[in-house]
């Protein structure tokens, strides 16, 4: 029972990341009809926004400490971040400590901008092209973005730790009456989960309750009709692309403390998130979210010792297996609509 | 007994009754038009005839054999060819290739692994395709990419492709929809010519009364998923029920 709960919990945070990326993918696909293979790269860029903010806050000046020696035996150069000298050591260190949450503020405009540039500069010209072309050009873009990041940040992962306050774990099991250590869960994973829920809720509310959202939803249902009404749907779609990009970026920013970002994290997530979208049903936002969490949880269950001893290697193939089965039995995914990307 | 017999066909989409109790009989070597206002179920009916949809109940018999449960390609192989509302042709292929494919399909069936033979050596097929193009007055366009042609030419090509298969029944789904007057008249002339020159049965779904009354031998009026009347064109014109349901609005 507790093991069960544990794996559901574990699935939730992985699922949160899947759901957020898939949500953005689906927004783009549903509104613009574009299959965006560079979406994983947006997630990665988000994570590197956090890295950049951290680097920026850590910009330092050097003082020479004669009492210590560096590795060559010369006097050690001690680095002090400017932030610490400006705001005092305590507040300065505190600011640096909170660099990941701070990065959210930085990431939103950056990601929206990246989204705009991508849409206006590239994707726009592919609305009328075949899906295969869209896949290919965004695939190329994903490679380019990833290589650019690697050029500046290197190939090794870079730590972007969570604030001290939110480090460590809580014993959820004890709260509900299990024995100690039965269900422990890292605080930041809880934060991530609720953050994801917040973002997902925000996006849905935005689409549901604003006129902007209504138009976009109408556009998702029938683009031409809305265009005929004289509404400038193109501009709204550009904004939607920015929103989707920001969602992916924020997912990335907050993911950093869970696993240190590296340049290929986008590709790692890309294939999975496409599977999520397809399983959820192309173009269905609730489907994407549902499938994200579902696959996250399934993946967790497949990695239990029980599962891997029953079927060796199941943890490696479960996602793909599920995708194949769903696609063959429910051709439109879990919640897909009729007529989306079909003949 | 006609060549195509539709008996008691019902089709629901969710709660919506698209077709209820449709009975229809198309006699051999006639032009049978199916008309009706928007949402009358014309397209649903057509889709039931060609295997795209399967009726909930009822039967569709073609030449004494049921078409239900067969896929579109099987039904085509039984002898029914279909012309779409917007011309469905092979846009990336040349006009000549467009014309050869249906002829191959008639000769070789639904699938044949002729991967080592050369198209250039298929003189029988080539001759036949050239002859149809000649008949369609399109011989000069044979090397064009089909997608680059005008809409009227695409329509002409599509009809030619269907005719090249020498179908027993030709289904036309609003063949002049969205066409300029001149193109419409050309199409009417073409269809008239086909009707006169060949032993062919045609079922046509149409909005344009001009087209219907120029061509049809027999007319079924569909309203709200049910056939209202089936009669000769002259009688339809005068039928008050039809006027009320359909002509009244547009007249």
């Amino acid at each position: 029972m507790d093991a069960l709960l544990l794996q559901i919990l574990n699935g939730l945070d992985k699922g949160s990341a899947y759901a957020l990326i898939a949500l953005g993918l689906t927004l783009i696909f549903g509104t613009l009809g574009v299959v965006n293979f560079a979406h994983g790269a947006l997630f990665m860029i988000g994570a590197f926004c956090a890295v950049t903010v951290q680097r920026f806050l850590n910009l330092s000046f050097e003082t020479i400490d004669e009492t210590q020696k560096d590795f060559l035996g010369n006097p050690l150069k001690v680095k002090t971040p400017y932030v610490e000298s400006w705001f005092g050591p305590d507040l300065g260190a505190g600011i640096i400590d909170w660099s990941v949450p701070l990065a959210i503020l930085f990431a939103i405009p950056i990601m929206v901008l990246v989204g705009f540039v991508m849409e206006r500069g590239l994707i726009k010209h592919f609305y009328k092209r075949e899906h295969a072309d869209q896949i290919l050009v965004t695939f190329g873009l994903a490679i380019v973005l990833q290589e650019v990041v690697k050029y500046f940040f290197g190939a090794n992962p870079i730590q972007t730790p969570e604030p001290n306050m939110l480090r460590g774990s809580v014993d959820l099991g004890m709260m509900v009456g299990f024995q100690a250590n039965a269900i422990i869960y890292p605080i930041w994973r809880l934060v991530y989960f609720f953050f994801a829920i917040g973002i997902i809720g925000g996006v849905f509310a935005f689409l549901q309750f604003t006129t902007f959202g209504m138009v976009v939803r109408a556009g998702m249902a029938d683009r031409e009709t809305v265009g005929l009404l004289g509404i400038n749907i193109d501009r709204r779609f550009t904004i939607m692309f920015g929103v989707a990009s920001a969602v992916a970026g924020l997912a990335g920013v907050m993911y950093g403390p869970l696993n240190p970002p590296n340049y290929h994290m986008g590709m790692d997530f890309l294939v999975l998130s496409f599977v999520v979208v397809v399983v959820g049903g192309m173009g269905s936002l609730p489907g994407a979210v549902l499938a994200g969490f579902l696959l996250g949880i399934l993946e967790s269950f497949a990695s239990t010792t029980w599962a891997t001893t029953t079927i060796p290697g199941i943890n490696q193939i479960i996602i793909y297996l599920v995708a194949i089965i769903i696609l063959l039995t429910r051709p439109r995914g879990l919640m897909g609509r009729k007529g989306v990307m079909e003949d | 007994m006609g060549i195509l017999d539709v008996k008691n066909v019902n089709k629901n989409f969710g709660g919506l009754k698209a077709l209820s109790n449709v009975n229809l009989s198309v006699r051999e070597n006639t032009v049978h038009a199916i008309i009706g206002p928007n949402g009358a179920g014309k397209s649903t009916l057509l889709n039931c005839l060609v295997g795209k949809l399967i009726p909930d109940t009822g039967s569709v018999m073609f030449d004494g054999k049921s078409v239900l449960g067969r896929s579109p390609y099987e039904i085509n192989q039984m002898g029914i060819s279909r012309v779409f509302q917007t011309p469905e042709i092979f846009g990336d292929l040349t006009v000549m290739e467009n014309m050869m494919i249906p002829i191959f399909a008639r000769r070789d069936g639904a699938f044949r692994m002729h991967a080592y033979e050369s198209v250039a050596n298929e003189s029988g097929i080539i001759e036949r395709a050239e002859q149809v193009l000649e008949d369609m007055n399109m011989a000069d366009k044979r090397h064009m990419h089909a997608a680059a042609m005008s809409r009227g030419d695409k329509r002409r090509l599509e009809i030619g492709m269907c005719l090249s298969q020498e179908p027993r029944l030709l289904l036309l789904d609003e063949p002049t929809a969205g066409m300029a007057r001149a193109d419409t008249n050309n199409t009417i002339d073409l269809l008239k010519q086909i009707k006169e020159e060949r032993d062919i049965t045609i079922a046509i779904i149409e909005h344009d009364m001009h087209v219907v009354f120029s061509l049809a031998d027999r007319i079924t009026v569909l309203a709200q998923g049910t056939p209202l009347v089936e009669d000769d064109p002259q009688n339809i014109k005068g039928n008050p029920k039809v006027r009320e349901a359909y002509l009244g609005e547009s007249a």
Binding site: D2, A3, L6, Q7, L9, N10, G11, D13, K14, Q68, D70, F71, L72, L76, K150, G154, A155, N156, P157, I158, Q159, P161, R167, G168, S169, N181, A182, I184, Y185, P186, W188, R189, P257, L258, N259, P260, N262, H264, M265, D268, F269, E299, S300, S303, T304, T305, T308, N315, Q316 | -
Partner: protein, 448 residues
């Protein structure tokens, strides 16, 4: 030369294609007049540095490349000479190798066996490399070693830690300076027992591929011999990026030590996750819960950041060592590049020097002669104390470092501290040890 049973294949290796009448004169492209593959004829000799330049280990590859360039500089008499001055063998004069100027070509392994073999082949076939060296993973090392054996050039392995490299996949033309999983186990286990006691329950998470398995096997054997119990050993997919679902059940299992048989990105993430789950703050079975990372690398430790603090592991070499060789190397590397070298850099630098020295001592570049000079060679002054290149399996036997993540680093390089230098004798094993059984060294192949 190896005195192992000469197999059918062994006979063929030397006679190679010459014996097959139908075949054209040569295998690969040595011209028929040459005595061996890619015999240098001009005033220079070309070495092939095959390192990961793209892919997840690109940073380690870059560090290896820096060390190679430094070694070439020193061999050609440039710079401050580095470890040439401290090396116990004095055969090298700083005038290249055997009087020929050392040149090099580089290739990108991409950390894929296919790509690594392709780039090695290109360096042999196109650039005339006489020796191939480098790499940052065992799969690649084994694949390239096999190729060099077939081609008839020497392979001086870079960073490869799997037992198989000098175990079941050992080759007469291949040599490994780096330590291996068995040695990690043998060095770590006593330290672990001394610090954490003999009554511990271990839980292994193991990367599901060749290296992971040999490491798990080695550590398990070494710790169990000291009285530890292995509660569970779970394989994790190599492509996994998040290990939470593997870490979460650890506390419930009754284990009080978690051993992470991971490397690279896997290690960074699994360790980060384990710390996140608060494992290190827990008390289990009345003992403090501990995490062990048997194979450490400073570059990876950097990726794991704060999380490595206090965590024990083993490493081949560390820049803070205070012997003359290490100091000389750190000085010349640090002066040239501005930061201290990694263990990968150290091992490939040593390999290059060892190769050059063997050529000098053998008086030839012929792989068979060089191999003979390396086999059973005892040396000192390269940073790991007295070292033996064992003839039976071409594995170096030297001291192994047990290290711990430093609590208060003074700089971004100062991440590990050496807690114990395990003497070579303690990590030495017989050549026929079961973990290394199954392979044949064969006989050397000069390629022509």
């Amino acid at each position: 030369m190896s005195k192992n049973d000469v197999t059918r294949r062994g006979v063929l290796k030397t006679g190679a294609i010459a014996g097959a009448g139908v075949a054209l004169p040569t295998i690969f492209t040595a011209s028929s007049a040459a005595a061996y593959m890619n015999e240098p004829t001009g005033g220079s000799v070309t070495l092939g540095f095959n390192v990961p330049q793209t892919g997840p280990y690109a940073d380690e590859g870059a560090d290896e490349l820096r060390a190679y360039e430094l070694a070439v500089e020193h061999l050609n008499g440039g710079g401050d000479g580095g470890m040439l001055g401290t090396f116990s063998s004095k055969a090298l004069k700083g005038n290249g190798i055997l009087g020929k100027k050392v040149e090099f070509v580089t290739g990108d392994t991409q950390t894929k066996s296919d790509a690594a073999r392709a780039s090695a082949k290109s360096m042999i076939e196109k650039d005339g490399a006489i020796m191939i060296t480098g790499g940052s993973s065992s799969g690649v090392a084994i694949a390239v070693q096999g190729l060099c054996q077939e081609a008839g050039v020497i392979f001086m392995a870079g960073l490869t830690h799997s037992n198989d490299t000098t175990g079941k996949d050992k080759k007469a033309n291949g040599f490994r300076h780096f330590f291996n999983a068995y040695m990690s186990g043998a060095a770590l286990a006593p330290v672990l027992a001394a610090r954490y006691g003999n009554d511990r329950k271990a839980y292994h998470l193991t990367a599901d591929y060749t290296w992971g398995w040999t490491q798990e096997e080695s550590i398990k054997a070494a710790t169990e011999a000291l009285g530890w119990e292995t509660v569970n050993a779970v394989k994790t997919p190599l492509a996994a990026t998040d290990f939470s679902s593997y870490i979460a059940p650890v506390l419930n299992s009754g284990a009080d030590v978690l051993i992470l048989n991971h490397y690279g990105g896997n290690m960074v993430n699994s360790l980060t996750n384990a710390v996140q789950f608060g494992l290190r703050e827990k008390m289990v079975n009345g003992k403090q819960f501990e995490i062990v990372v048997p194979l450490y690398s400073r570059l990876m430790a950097k990726g794991a950041g704060e999380n490595v603090k206090g965590i024990l592991g083993s490493t081949n070499w560390h820049w803070s060592l205070q012997d003359e060789g290490s100091k000389a190397f750190v000085k010349s590397f640090g002066t040239k590049y501005g930061f201290p070298p990694s263990q990968a850099a150290h091992t490939v630098y040593c390999q290059t020097l060892l190769y050059a020295d063997a050529c000098e001592r053998a008086g030839t570049f012929n792989p068979c002669g060089v191999g003979q000079a390396l086999e059973g060679f005892e040396f000192d002054g390269l940073g790991n104390g007295p070292t033996l290149y064992r003839a039976d399996d071409h594995q170096c036997f030297k001291d192994v470092l047990v290290v711990r993540g430093k609590e208060n680093p003074t700089s971004e390089f100062d991440l590990l501290e050496v807690v114990e230098v395990t003497p070579a004798a303690q990590v030495t094993y017989p050549p026929d040890h079961p973990m290394f059984a199954g392979g044949e060294l064969g006989t050397c192949n000069p390629g022509a």
